[in-house]
C-alpha cells in the first residue's frame, strides 16, 4: 500500500516538530554551558556560542564539590544496581517459573509499588532508617534505591526468564545436572544480557534519583549529584547560568550513555515483562 506524497510530507513535518520540541531544550542547555559570561548577558542570545569556552566547567567545579558528589552518586548507583540484580534475579526466576501465591503476591506488589505515594513511605522510611542508624549514610540510601528499583527490575527479569525455554533446563536435568548446576551453567548465561540491561536501568534510576537523597542525606560531603546540582539554583544572576548549565550537562552524560546502550533492551524488556504466559 502506498501513502500519498502529501500525507508523507505531513508526517515528516510532524516528526520534525516532535524532534524539535524534544531536542531544542537540551541543545539550549549545551549551548549555554559553552557560552562566556559576556554572551550570556547579551540581550540577543544565540543558539551557537560565538566564542565557546570551557570556563563555565572550571567555575562549576570551583563552586560546588561536583567530583565528590559524582563519586557519591556513582557509589550509590553501582551499589543499588549490583544488589538489585543479585537479589532480584533469583526472585524473578521463582516468580516466572512457579505459579504460587508468592508469585501472585510479588506481581501484585510490583503493580502496587508503582502507585506508591512517596510521601506516605518517606516518613516511616526515615524513622526506620534512623533506628537502624542508616540515616545520612550512603549505605542507607543504597538500600532504599535497591527496594525502589526492585519492582521494575523484577518485571524485566521475570520477562527475560520466561524467554528462556524450560526445555533447555529440562534437557540439562536429563543429562544429570543438579538444579543449582542447571541454573548456573544453563540459565544464567542465557539471562546475562537481560541481567546486564536490568542492572544498567537500575543504575540510571539511582543516578538520577533526587527525592530520597534530598530527605535522607544531610551532611554536604555525603550528598549525591542531583542534590548538589540544586545548590546552583537561587544565585541566578545571568553570569551564573553558565556554570549551572555546565554542571547539569555533565551530570546527564552518564545517564545518556547508559541509556543509549540499553535503549533497545529496555523497550524489549518492557514488552517481555508485559507478555503474560
Amino acid at each position: 500500500m502506498r501513502t500519498r506524497t502529501g500525507a508523507r510530507l505531513g508526517q515528516y513535518a510532524a516528526l520534525l516538530a516532535y524532534l524539535a520540541f524534544l531536542a531544542l531544550p537540551f541543545l539550549w542547555l549545551v549551548s549555554t554551558a559553552f557560552k562566556p559570561p559576556r554572551e550570556l548577558a547579551s540581550p540577543h542570545p544565540t543558539w551557537i556560542p560565538r566564542d565557546p569556552t570551557l570556563a563555565n566547567f572550571r567555575q562549576a567545579f570551583d563552586e560546588q564539590p561536583l567530583v565528590h558528589a559524582a563519586l557519591n552518586s556513582l557509589l550509590a548507583a553501582l551499589g543499588a544496581a549490583v544488589i538489585a540484580v543479585l537479589i532480584g534475579t533469583p526472585m524473578a526466576y521463582v516468580v516466572a517459573r512457579r505459579r504460587t501465591a508468592l508469585s501472585r503476591a510479588a506481581t501484585g506488589w510490583v503493580v502496587v509499588s508503582q502507585a506508591f505515594p512517596f510521601v506516605l513511605v518517606i516518613i516511616p522510611l526515615f524513622l526506620v532508617l534512623k533506628s537502624l542508624r542508616l540515616i545520612d549514610s550512603l549505605a542507607g540510601l543504597i538500600l532504599v534505591y535497591v527496594v525502589w528499583a526492585l519492582p521494575f527490575a523484577l518485571w524485566m527479569l521475570a520477562g527475560y526468564v520466561r524467554a528462556v525455554p524450560v526445555e533447555l533446563e529440562e534437557a540439562a536435568a536429563v543429562d544429570g545436572a543438579g538444579r543449582l548446576r542447571t541454573l548456573v551453567s544453563v540459565t544464567a548465561p542465557l539471562l546475562a544480557p537481560g541481567i546486564a540491561a536490568t542492572a544498567l536501568f537500575a543504575f540510571v534510576t539511582a543516578w538520577n534519583e533526587f527525592f530520597f537523597a534530598l530527605v535522607l542525606l544531610k551532611t554536604p560531603e555525603k550528598q549525591t549529584l542531583p542534590v548538589v546540582l540544586t545548590h546552583f539554583i537561587g544565585a541566578e544572576g545571568v553570569a551564573d547560568l553558565g556554570p549551572l548549565a555546565a554542571a547539569a550537562f555533565l551530570a546527564t552524560l552518564p545517564s545518556l550513555v547508559v541509556f543509549a546502550l540499553v535503549q533497545r533492551r529496555i523497550t524489549s524488556g518492557m514488552l517481555a515483562g508485559a507478555v503474560k504466559s
Partner: protein, 309 residues
C-alpha cells in the same frame, strides 16, 4: 541410561519437574529480595498509615501518642492543603492528557516507514534518560526572563517582550505543565509503540484494501489492539504525575504564592521543614485514598465503555 532423579529421589521425567524448585529452594531464592521489600517497602507503608493516627513530630522528646482521627479532622479544615490538592489534580490531568495525545501521535509516526525513524527513536528517549533535576534546571534556562531562549524567540517573532514565565502568577502552572509533558513523553511513547507493534498488520492492510481511510483504520483496527496498553500507561501516568516532586521542586519550589505547590511539595514541607510527621502521614493517606478512588472510577468507566464499543 540411568534413571534421572531430582534431589528427593523421584524420577524427573515430567515436564517442568526438573526446573521446579522445591518449597525450601524457592524460599532460599526469594528471601534475599523479600526481606528488604518487607522492611523497607511494605513495612513503611503500613507504619505510615499508623503514623497518621498519632501526633508524631520530628525531634520531640515526649512520647508519641495515639490521637485517633484528629489529624484527619484538622486536615478537613486545612484550606491550604485542599488548595494544594486541587493544584495537584489540575497538574496531573493537564500533564497526563497532552502526554497521552502527543505520545500517541509520535508513536504512530515512529511506527511508520519513515526515513528518520531510527535516529528519531533514539532522540525521542533523551528526556527519559535525563535526571529530573537536570530537566528542571534546563527548563529554567529556557524560561529565564533575560537569557532564556523562549523570550528571545518571542521577541524575534515580534510576539511581545516576553515575561517571567515561572515567576508569574498566571503563567507558572502552565509553564511547569509543559515541562511535565516534555519529561514524560518518551516513556509513554515507548509503551504505546510497543502496543502498536502488537497490532495485526494483515488486518490493517485488509482494511486498506477494502478502502477504509486512515482514521477508520485507526478506529477499527489499531485502537482496539492498543487500548489495553493505552489504559495502563495513562493510569500509571496519572499516578506518577500526581506523585511528582523533583521537577516542580527545582522549577518553582511551589511558588509563586503557592500556585504550583503540588501535594507532594506540601507534604514534604510539613514533614521535613516543620517536622509534623503524623500530620504529613495523614496527608499521604488522604492523597492515596482519593487517587485510588479516582483511578478506580476512571478504569471502571473506561472498561465499561469498551464493552459498548
Amino acid at each position: 541410561m540411568s534413571v534421572v532423579t531430582d534431589e528427593r529421589g523421584r524420577p524427573a521425567g515430567r515436564p517442568g519437574r526438573a526446573v521446579r524448585a522445591t518449597g525450601h529452594g524457592a524460599w532460599f531464592l526469594v528471601l534475599p529480595a523479600l526481606i528488604p521489600i518487607l522492611v523497607l517497602s511494605v513495612g513503611p507503608l503500613l507504619y505510615g498509615i499508623l503514623l497518621a493516627f498519632t501526633d508524631a513530630q520530628s525531634g520531640r522528646t515526649a512520647p508519641t501518642r495515639w490521637i485517633g482521627g484528629l489529624n484527619f479532622r484538622d486536615l478537613l479544615q486545612d484550606t491550604l492543603f485542599w488548595e494544594s490538592f486541587r493544584i495537584g489534580l489540575v497538574w496531573a490531568v493537564a500533564v497526563t492528557v497532552p502526554q497521552f495525545l502527543l505520545a500517541l501521535g509520535l508513536a504512530l509516526l515512529l511506527d511508520q516507514d519513515l526515513r528518520l525513524r531510527r535516529p528519531a527513536r533514539v532522540l525521542a528517549i533523551v528526556p527519559w534518560a535525563m535526571p529530573e533535576v537536570v530537566v528542571g534546571l534546563m527548563w529554567r534556562l529556557v524560561y529565564h526572563p533575560d537569557a532564556g531562549v523562549l523570550n528571545e524567540t518571542l521577541r524575534d517573532l515580534g510576539l511581545g517582550e516576553g515575561r517571567d514565565w515561572l515567576g508569574g502568577l498566571g503563567t507558572a502552572l502552565p509553564a511547569v505543565v509543559v515541562v511535565g509533558v516534555w519529561a514524560g513523553l518518551p516513556q509513554t511513547t515507548v509503551a504505546l509503540l510497543a502496543g502498536l507493534q502488537n497490532t495485526p498488520r494483515e488486518l490493517h492492510e485488509a482494511a486498506a484494501v477494502d478502502g477504509a481511510g486512515a482514521w477508520r483504520r485507526f478506529r477499527t483496527v489499531t485502537w482496539p489492539a492498543l487500548r489495553p496498553v493505552a489504559l495502563a500507561i495513562t493510569a500509571l501516568n496519572l499516578i506518577w504525575n500526581f506523585n511528582s516532586f523533583a521537577l516542580v521542586y527545582v522549577l518553582t519550589n511551589g511558588g509563586p504564592g503557592g500556585r504550583t505547590r503540588l501535594p507532594m511539595l506540601f507534604a514534604y514541607e510539613e514533614a521535613f521543614r516543620y517536622g509534623q510527621f503524623g500530620y504529613a502521614a495523614a496527608m499521604g493517606c488522604v492523597l492515596v485514598a482519593v487517587v485510588s478512588v479516582l483511578l478506580a472510577v476512571f478504569l471502571a468507566g473506561r472498561l465499561r465503555g469498551g464493552d459498548d464499543a
